[in-house]
């Protein structure tokens, strides 16, 4: 098996019929016997009243999850950066994506397997998006990726007005699959739902307008809502979540022009900050290569591995490629979250399917760092934020704490996030 291949299997829990199999980094399909034994061992354990959750070997990991006693998801990853935390998140995301597209009812009460298989094809693109980690981090943090622009106040006003006019409370402006701004109600949706809607819009091919039925996995898993999206400029979409009215035509013809025409320039400016996710005018230490900032209250993420895009452009060969930076940030986030920094929203009642190493500490960890020959990482946890930084190896270890604190200050005081 290749070094980086990931296989995702979906089967019905009762009969073990494969619903689909998605993979990444491998041309080969899993043979039926492998699928059968992966599911079989889980089923065997289940019959003995044992719930198999995960297994690890030298170079691969397998994680099993059963959702609503109806759908089994199995992921097998050979990536050495994979962890129980990331794979469990992946399976949750995948199941939520399935709910988003076809609703919980059809997944729990499977009447016609062949029909379900066909229905599920609609979410392949979304699922593949989760498998191939991209510019975004929200799949891991479960907090939607955002960007910061200068004109956010103007855009916010436009959005509020537009949403109101469309008889909805839930409106969101996205650029390149990341949230520029959203209405207050939108932020109050469950963080997974917000994240999924954003990924959905990004995964769909670009259309000038669209009316898409969605089930919100947390908010309303059985009753569909309408997601209306309108492309304002190429790469920038506005979407609203609404009930039966108004019609797509009405919004498109009457409201879009009226509200968004005057702000075309600020909208285009949104695309300019995409690489960095925030304007170049925000000063950051030169040693920082990658940044991940999570707002734990609003559940939003600011993420970039090109903190100094201009500088990177001038140098022909990057010492530490962008992919490596992404991998470093993801690994470090996983390490910090699974070993040290306790997430606040730990549900006591649910049976843990992965070990909470961090909860064994008698004192709480607030910062941590690693130093390796290629880069250094630093994590900082405050009341409101989680900050993860990837530094160049030249940055002195002892200064990382200071730089991290200063960076956080930038994003809390000068450019609040």
């Amino acid at each position: 098996m290749e070094d980086t291949s990931v296989f995702l299997l979906c089967l019905t829990a009762s009969s073990g019929v494969p619903l689909y199999c998605r993979s990444k980094g491998s041309n080969r399909q899993l043979t039926f016997s492998v699928i059968g034994s992966l599911n079989g061992v889980h089923m065997f354990a289940n019959n003995q009243d044992v719930l198999l959750t995960s297994t690890r070997t030298e170079n691969s990991r397998v994680v099993w999850r059963t959702f609503h006693d109806s759908i089994n998801l199995i992921v097998m990853s050979c990536e050495n950066t994979a962890s129980d935390l990331s794979l469990n998140k992946l399976l949750e995301n995948v199941f939520n994506a399935m709910v988003l597209v076809i609703g919980l009812d059809d997944l729990v009460n499977i009447k016609n397997v062949e029909r379900l298989k066909k229905d599920l094809r609609a979410c392949y693109k979304l699922i593949d998006g989760f498998l191939t980690e991209s510019e975004k981090m929200a799949d891991l943090t479960q907090c939607v990726d955002c960007i910061i622009t200068h004109d956010v106040t103007i855009l916010q006003e436009c959005l509020d007005g537009f949403t109101q006019a469309a008889e909805s409370d839930f409106g969101c402006l996205m650029a390149g699959g990341k949230v520029v701004t959203a209405t207050e109600k939108w932020w109050r949706l469950a963080s997974q739902d917000v994240m999924l809607l954003c990924w959905l819009v990004a995964s769909l091919s670009s259309h000038s307008s669209r009316d898409y039925p969605v089930y919100l996995p947390q908010g309303s898993p059985t009753v569909p809502h309408r997601l209306l999206t309108f492309q304002l400029v190429s790469g920038v979409d506005v979407c609203i979540l609404c009930g039966p009215s108004p019609s797509l035509q009405k919004v498109e013809s009457e409201l879009v022009e009226r509200f968004w025409k005057p702000v075309v320039d600020p909208l285009k400016a949104c695309l300019r900050v995409q690489l960095r996710s925030f304007p170049a005018s925000i000063p950051l230490h030169r040693g920082i290569m990658g940044l991940l900032l999570v707002n734990r209250d609003l559940n939003k993420t600011l993420y970039t591995v090109q903190v100094h895009p201009l500088e990177d452009m001038h140098r022909t060969e990057l010492k530490f490629t962008l992919d490596q930076r992404r991998a470093a940030l993801r690994s470090f986030y996983t390490l910090a979250l699974s070993h040290y920094l306790i997430p606040d929203n730990v549900d006591e009642k649910t049976i843990p399917c992965e070990e909470m190493f961090a909860s064994g500490f008698s004192h709480h960890a607030h910062q941590c760092y690693t130093v390796s020959s290629s880069h250094k990482c630093y994590a900082l946890k405050t009341e409101l934020h989680l900050l993860f930084l990837v530094f160049k190896p030249e940055v002195p270890t002892f200064s990382m704490s200071t730089i991290a604190n200063k960076t956080l200050q930038v994003f809390t005081k000068d450019f609040p996030f």
């Binding site: 297994t55 960890a365 690693t370 130093v371």
Partner: protein, 895 residues
């Protein structure tokens, strides 16, 4: 008889300064020596416990427990009642007062044994040692054709109560055996009365006539109707004394019942295979942990845990040796359970424990250690698990393992303090370090120990050695290592052997036991040190073909000392044939050696009681709630230190460390420190806590180095000064600094006071020697505090995680040799740190938020020249310079 007395002197009266060499000229006749040994009453007390295969595990506890002689063999469990209780039951045996009662049965059995297979006993089994006593096996399986031992767990506190049982005798209520006396039952009842004198008529045999339903004896399924109970824990019983004997059982315990059985060749039914083997109640754990032992049993019963050894029938050729540890997690009874595997050729060894007790990282380490220890003891897992005679031994081994695991996890979860808590916390990490806790000693003491050990290793026992009689030597000593209270004092073993031995000791709880309770310990067994066996296999050199040697481990413990010796037989020495038991002479030479070492007791104790070096701080000192406890002067110094980091943080963001070092706050704090130290020493002797603190303060001020002079000299007089350089000894640091740059004393004091005062804990692992250094139990205990124990607990848990990250680095490093590999993810991590925050427990002040104290746990991995690991825990305010220095200094570590 004069032989005897002189021999006695040789063997045991060795408290003097030299190893006594008996000069008795009369001992020229080999036979006389042997006959003395064989016929004298001077059999070593452990002789009875030597097993059939030559193995010996003899443990005698010290202090008030010395009467409870506990030879520990899973198959052969002896429990003697303690002396005061035994008094009651010995009325009948008064004439044999000199002879321990438990020998009676032994004698009886031995006689039978000899009569039956006398020919075999007389024929030489191996190369007969001139001095060697042929151990008499008294507990062989074959011998028990007419007697069988059955171990039952009885609990006098939980007698069968209720109406129908009240009238029954103890035999029925406790054990569940019904014996119908030929006399009428009324008489039997009267026997229960303690005042009734024992009858003189010949007592009746206790024949089993029936069982009480649902009783222990019925459940065990091995007692048959018609068997006769002849002894309880080797105390002969009959209808006369049975009730009294049983009433002497003080608490829940395992008793051995010896039955005379009429059935020939009893097939004891094997326990159900599907059934998870219940660890046999065993005396060792009970003895070590006392009453809590029962509690552990209870927890173990409710806790899913298993060890399995499976055979895989693999068709494909995937059976390559794997070094990583595959693992699986599963949810059982709503609890997360981890399973860790080890694959050895076609076999799979797996261990499973619940996540709440043992984290996955820990479990993986534990599995590796279990495998290593089992290989050390049995050569391979296959031999360990697939040989029938090892079953009870493994049962015992794993029951110890699980009970110990439970105990440590309980202790870890408790907010206890003291040495045991420290042990439990650190066991998390250090049990699995490839190293042994090392205690650095003053040079002179160290030399003395080394000399004594070297003398022993030379095996020059004069006329007690084989050379004297021109026989080939039995064994060669490969090396020895000496433990004192669980600390390694000296090691003459190769590193791998040392770790093997240390792991063995840990699994049998010897290292922690040695810290307090060992009276006498003799362990003998054949071992298979991987280091020698692997080396033997390489056929690279033709000129030297390695010997087909066998290896034996001999451990002799005396009070706090424990001497481990690895013996080789078959190289230049005579081949070991069969299963040789421990040899008298070797054991006694080791004992003599230990007695000689006992003289050093005081200097080692002194070392253990010196103020910690490097100085440690208690976490509680950094919280204002501790204000009441200490002088305000001291406190103000602390407070000034506390404020320093905040100021520094705000004032110099991007300045380099150079500008940071002469921070004004810090310097004033440091100088205050030095001058006040003297005053306090004079002024307050009343509060021990204070003086101790002042002492620490003083030593950090002057550190015992010649350079500083001045303020510190007051206390220095009283203390013995050790010249051993230590990486943390900042005295030597200061010296080197002052030599190098001739800085004035003041500045250097600043630097040291800054780093020293804020150091909470540390572990330094050196992989070349296989040792690690960390604060002693005493040092940690002295710090006490309420938050500090939690800090230590956190420190070790965190190190476990840090170490797992390092482990990944080491694996990657090994794989990618020199090729420049693109690292995915974290890359080869060389340093990893975590900042923790804590506030005082039960903070009552509603108005103010509780004060906070932050501390770092940082681990560093040095790959060059040899992998070394270093973990420190210190207060957030430490200047980075000091941290750097501390890390760098570890390179100067002398060993």
């Amino acid at each position: 008889m004069c032989y005897e007395s002189s021999f006695w002197w040789t063997m045991f009266n060795v408290g003097g300064h030299i190893i006594p060499r008996a000069v008795s000229k009369n001992l020229d006749d080999l036979d006389s020596v042997q006959s003395i040994l064989l016929h004298s009453d001077l059999e070593p007390e452990w002789l009875e416990s030597v097993e059939r295969n030559g193995e010996l595990f003899y443990l005698e506890l010290s202090e008030g427990e010395e009467e409870a002689v506990l030879p520990l063999n899973p198959g052969v469990n002896h429990v003697r009642f303690c002396e005061n209780v035994a008094e009651v039951i010995s009325e009948n045996a008064k004439k044999n007062k000199n002879e321990p009662r438990f020998k009676k049965l032994a004698k009886m059995l031995r006689n039978k044994h000899i009569s039956k297979k006398g020919s075999r006993l007389h024929g030489p089994i191996g190369p007969t040692s001139i001095l060697k006593h042929q151990p008499s096996y008294r507990m062989g399986v074959l011998v028990h054709q007419q007697y069988k031992d059955i171990c039952l767990y009885v609990n006098p506190n939980r007698l069968l109560d209720g109406e129908p049982f009240q009238k029954l005798c103890l035999l029925q209520r406790l054990i569940g055996i019904v014996h119908q006396s030929s006399k009428n039952s009324k008489r039997l009842e009267r026997h229960n009365g303690p005042d009734i004198p024992p009858r003189r008529t010949s007592p009746e045999k206790l024949v089993v006539h029936g069982f009480i339903p649902d009783s222990q004896s019925l459940r065990c399924g091995q007692i048959l109707i018609g068997d006769a109970l002849v002894a309880v824990n080797d105390v002969e019983v009959n209808t006369e004394n049975i009730e009294r004997v049983l009433s002497c059982i003080p608490g829940p315990m395992q008793v051995k019942l010896t039955f005379e059985t009429t059935v020939f060749d009893t097939q004891i039914p094997s326990p159900n295979i599907n059934y998870v083997p219940q660890p046999p109640m065993n005396n060792m754990t009970k003895l070590i942990w006392g009453e809590e032992h029962g509690n552990h049993q209870q927890i173990l019963q409710d806790m899913p845990h298993i060890v399995m050894y499976l055979t895989l029938r693999l068709d494909s050729d995937t059976s390559k040796e794997e070094f990583s540890f595959p693992s699986t997690s599963l949810v059982l009874n709503k609890k997360l359970v981890h399973v860790s595997y080890w694959k050895e050729s076609e076999h799979l060894f797996l261990v499973s424990l619940p996540a709440e007790r043992v984290s996955l990282l820990h479990l993986k380490n534990m599995t590796a250690d279990l495998v290593r220890t089992l290989r050390f003891m049995y050569k391979s897992l296959d031999r360990a698990f697939c040989q029938a005679e090892n079953v009870p031994r493994l049962d015992h081994f794993f029951s110890l393992f699980f009970q110990r695991t439970v105990r440590l996890s309980i202790l870890r979860a408790s907010t206890g303090r003291g040495a045991e808590f420290y042990d439990a916390c650190s066991s998390h990490l250090i049990d699995n370090l490839p190293g042994v806790r090392w205690l650095s000693l003053p040079e002179d003491v160290k030399t003395e120990i080394d000399t004594i050990l070297s003398d022993l290793e030379a095996l020059d026992f004069a006329e007690l050695s084989e050379d004297y009689y021109e026989t080939r030597r039995l064994y060669m000593i490969l090396g020895t290592c000496l433990f004192y209270k669980g600390y390694l004092l000296a090691n003459h073993l190769p590193k791998e052997d040392l770790i093997d031995v240390a792991l063995y000791c840990r699994h049998y709880y010897l290292l922690s036991l040695a810290s307090e309770r060992i009276g006498q310990l003799v362990i003998w067994r054949e071992v298979f040190p991987g280091y020698h066996l692997v080396k033997d296999r390489s056929p690279s050199r033709d000129e030297y073909s390695p010997p087909e040697a066998r290896y034996f481990l001999l451990i002799v413990g005396l009070k706090h000392f424990m001497l481990c010796t690895l013996l080789e037989a078959g190289g230049c020495t005579s081949k070991a044939v069969g299963n040789p038991g421990p040899d008298y002479i070797y054991v006694d030479q080791l004992k003599a050696c230990l007695l000689q070492l006992e003289m050093l007791d005081t200097s080692i104790e002194e070392r253990l009681h010196t103020s910690p070096n490097p100085c440690l701080s208690c976490a509680d000192w950094f919280l204002p709630s501790a204000r009441d406890k200490f002088q305000s002067v001291v406190n103000s110094v602390m407070m000034s230190k506390l404020q320093t980091p905040k100021k520094a943080l705000i004032s110099d963001h991007q300045t380099s460390l150079r500008t940071r070092r002469p921070s004004p706050t810090r310097s004033s704090g440091g100088s205050d420190n030095g001058s006040e130290g003297v005053g306090e020493t004079v002024g307050f002797h009343s509060t021990p806590e204070l003086t101790r603190k002042v002492g620490r303060r003083e030593s950090q001020g002057s550190g015992g180095s010649e350079g500083s002079g001045g303020s510190g000299s007051v206390l220095k007089i009283g203390k013995k000064k050790y010249t051993l350089p230590n990486p943390f000894n900042l005295g030597s640091l200061r010296r080197s600094l002052s030599e190098r740059e001739a800085e004035d004393v003041y500045k250097t004091v600043k630097l040291t006071s800054g780093s020293e005062n804020t150091l909470f804990h540390y572990i330094y692992l050196e992989t070349v020697q296989g040792v690690f250094i960390s604060p002693t139990h005493r040092e940690v205990e002295d710090l006490s505090g309420s938050i500090h124990p939690l800090l230590i607990q956190n420190f070790h848990r965190c190190c476990l995680s840090i170490r797992s990250v390092f482990h990944q680095t080491l694996v990657e490093e090994r794989q990618s040799d020199s090729t420049c590999k693109d690292y995915a993810g974290l890359g080869p991590v060389k340093e990893h740190g975590v900042l923790f925050e804590c506030s005082p427990e039960n903070w009552t002040d509603q108005k103010k938020s509780p004060p906070k104290m932050s501390y770092w746990v940082i681990g560093r991995l040095f790959l060059q020249p040899q992998p070394q690991e270093f973990y420190v825990c210190f207060h957030d305010s430490v200047a980075e310079v000091a941290v750097e220095l501390a890390f760098k200094l570890s390179f100067g570590m002398p060993l």
